[in-house]
């Protein structure tokens, strides 16, 4: 199979930072606008898949290794669980940052207001950890599917990379 032409590679490299910034914006502003962890993570993962389609899986496999992606996904999952366990003074999953003056603790006024980033309690941190988990998980799945297809078999039962 021929490798993709120069036009495809150039346009994909130009448009990839915009997709990443848009996806991270939707993850971080999950408590003010429609969006959140799962939606923004899917958008950013589709940006990585665009790079994979444009450049071919052999080149991308040199830059992104599967072990790094699995470390990122485990960090996301463990931080989600530890944020839930930190509120154990009252109950599991207690929102211990809303109302306190630590980091995200303002209460917005009732009714329509332009959104303030400082509100939300423990919700923005949970959005970020779930978004990291979804990005790493979806990219690892598509990378594994793409790399499996270019395997060659020698004798029956012996596979070479």
């Amino acid at each position: 199979m021929n490798e993709p032409s120069k036009i495809v590679k150039t346009i994909a490299s130009i448009i990839f930072p915009f997709i990443t910034v848009y996806g991270l914006y939707i993850i971080v502003h999950g408590h003010l606008t429609p969006g959140g962890g799962f939606q923004g993570g899917a958008i950013t993962a589709s940006g990585i898949v665009l790079l994979l389609v444009a450049f071919g899986s052999a080149e991308i496999a040199k830059k992104i290794k599967e072990s790094h992606l699995s470390i990122l996904e485990s960090i996301g999952a463990l931080s989600f669980i530890s944020l839930a366990l930190l509120g154990l003074s009252a109950t599991f999953f207690y929102n211990f940052l809303a109302g306190s003056n630590f980091i995200f603790g303002r209460i917005p006024p009732f009714g329509s207001n332009p959104g303030d980033m400082n509100t939300g309690g423990v919700l923005p941190l949970m959005n970020i950890s779930v978004g990291l988990k979804v990005i790493a998980g979806l990219s690892a799945m598509v990378l594994a599917l793409a790399l499996f297809a270019r395997l060659k078999r020698g004798r029956k039962g012996v596979r070479k990379k």
Binding site: F38, L145, F148
Partner: protein, 119 residues
Amino acid sequence: MIYNIPYMASAILVIVGLYAVLFKRNLIKIAIGITVLESGVNLFLITLGYRENAVAPIYTNLPEGTSIPEGMTLPVPQALTLTSIVIGVAVLALILSFAVKIYQHYGTLDSREVRRLRE
């Protein structure tokens, strides 16, 4: 009867997906049928929580004159639909990876030929 169009659309999606699962032999077509069936169920779940002439339940820059509990749609079915969509993605990924492995081992994707338990 003209106001039940979303329920009719969800029923049509479920019927089309069920036809693809029951009467087709290619494994990829069965996977597509499972996805269409799951989309129909998600559409039904999210149309259960609608009110007449209501806006989304988000307080940032509300339009003028929306009454606070009665002018907003219900947020709980939307949250349940989010979870259901993610679970559908996970099921589809596992189905496709098994289909790739079956094709590499048997050489065909016909569901009547791949029913031996041991090669």
